[in-house]
């Protein structure tokens, strides 16, 4: 899985490509941890993401917690239909800011 990072001041945009499963979730967590210093808002672009596993959901949730702690926000964009259904059935669609 690929994660493209774009930093604009205190805004971090992460463009995901591929699958966010048990293995790649760890990779994602590490990658975000490296860049999170001084970041206020994160945008996760799921346009090229085809699959999210339960481990992936936990990573998303933990990133949101971190942003809330600094008074910032996590926004998820370009979610495809299947992943949207996953967000709905797990109740994540209510907990996350999805645009």
């Amino acid at each position: 899985m690929n994660i493209e990072k774009i930093i604009n001041g205190t805004e971090l945009t992460l463009i995901f490509e591929g699958r966010l499963d048990t293995n790649t979730s760890k990779q994602a967590e590490e990658s975000i941890k490296d860049s999170i210093e001084g970041i206020q808002n994160i945008t996760m672009d799921f346009g090229k993401l085809v699959y999210v596993s339960s481990a992936g959901l936990r990573v998303i949730l933990s990133v949101q917690k971190k942003m809330n702690a600094v008074g910032g926000e996590l926004v998820i964009t370009n979610v495809n239909d299947v992943i949207m259904e996953v967000f709905e059935i797990t109740g994540f669609s209510d907990m996350l800011t999805i645009k």
Partner: protein
Amino acid sequence: MITQENTELIYRNIIENMSDGVMVIGFNGVITYINEAAAEIIGMDKENLLNTKIAAVFFQYDENDALTQLLLDSVYDGTERNSGMVDYFDGTNKKKLYVTTAYLRNEEKEQKAVIVLLSDLTEIKKLEEEKDKITSTFGRYLSDDIVKSLLESPDGLALGGKKCDVTIMMTDLRGFTTISENMLPVDIITMLNNYLGEMVNIIDKYEGTVIEYIGDAILAVFGEPRHSACPEASAVACAIEMQNRMNIVNSFNRNNSFPPLEMGIGINSGVAVLGNIGSEKCTKYSVIGKNVNLCSRIEGYTVGGQILVSQSVKDKISVPLDIRGEVSILPKGIKIPLTVYDVASIGGDYGVGCTDDDTAILALVNDRVMVNLFKISSKHVSETPIVAKLTAISERRAEVSFFGTDEISEFSDFQLAAVSEDGTIVFTDVFCKSVCAGDGKALLHFTAVNNRLMKFVEKYKKM
């Protein structure tokens, strides 16, 4: 009578009272229905779970990833059911659950729900693990074949045995009691366990079954419970390999400053009773019969490094056998002398021969050294020795010549003490078995040696 009206009531009752958990997750991940059993499995009150988001219940701990993945899989896979054994952690207890999820989607895709079925298999899994542990522990104390035949056949555990044709092998470490007398208990066990481990591996390779250890002796059978084409040949090939392996065993002993070991093996075949002997309270899997006793007697005649087999064993082997010698024995309880054979190698498909030469070259002893031979009968050492002159010696054997008409019998055990011409004690506390006697001479094979003897031997080897 089931009518349309009471159908719903009946089904609702069934689900309410089931021992398996049922949960329905509706729109936006909210638990819209949950039965008593599911609440109990999850470990929370039914009232607290109803209308709660599953994200709050199941996404806290990463132990529950496999469970939540099943929910996601039901969405990704659409109409298929997804099931699996998963771990569940409620913050305090860990459980093993069998979970099935099914995604319900109506035609307009407006109403969606996931049905979740939960079965708590924690207790069953625990019992399975305990059963495995017991079986493997059992397998450490009895060989796998015995465990298998005890547990898997319908009358496996019943008392009583069956009469069958088997080949019996008895091994013994020469002079073990004496050797171990000066060793620490922990060292004795280490040395013994290493030796037994090596030997049992070989017995297993040749489809033999270890019945029991009797101190440092091994009693094994071939032919039952594991079948082999020719158990007699398997036993002989096994014995030869075991003797050859003693080099490795003694190498281990040297590295750990343990004394060297020598093993004698006796093999006999014939009818014996194999089975569960004793009572319900105390049972032993064993082999009994006169052929087992005879095997033990035959083994008693061996010296270190030797394999003696009975006539019945020799007769059953069709592949070439290299026989070093024949010995006529009259064991206790037998009326006519029996011939047993000293086997060195076996051919054919078995193709294994003794690598160790038993007869090391004896160095001549020109000095006048007298040997006192104290005969040992029924573990009792005689007080009056027979005195002989030491004529030749090696690390393993000694040659003596007697005075006048003195003589000793073959296959007798002796304790030795040697004295030089000036009365100095050369060595004591050495044990041996006479392997050859006649014409005023005898060849003695050492069964227990010590450093003093070895120093003495070194002196004459250098000459």
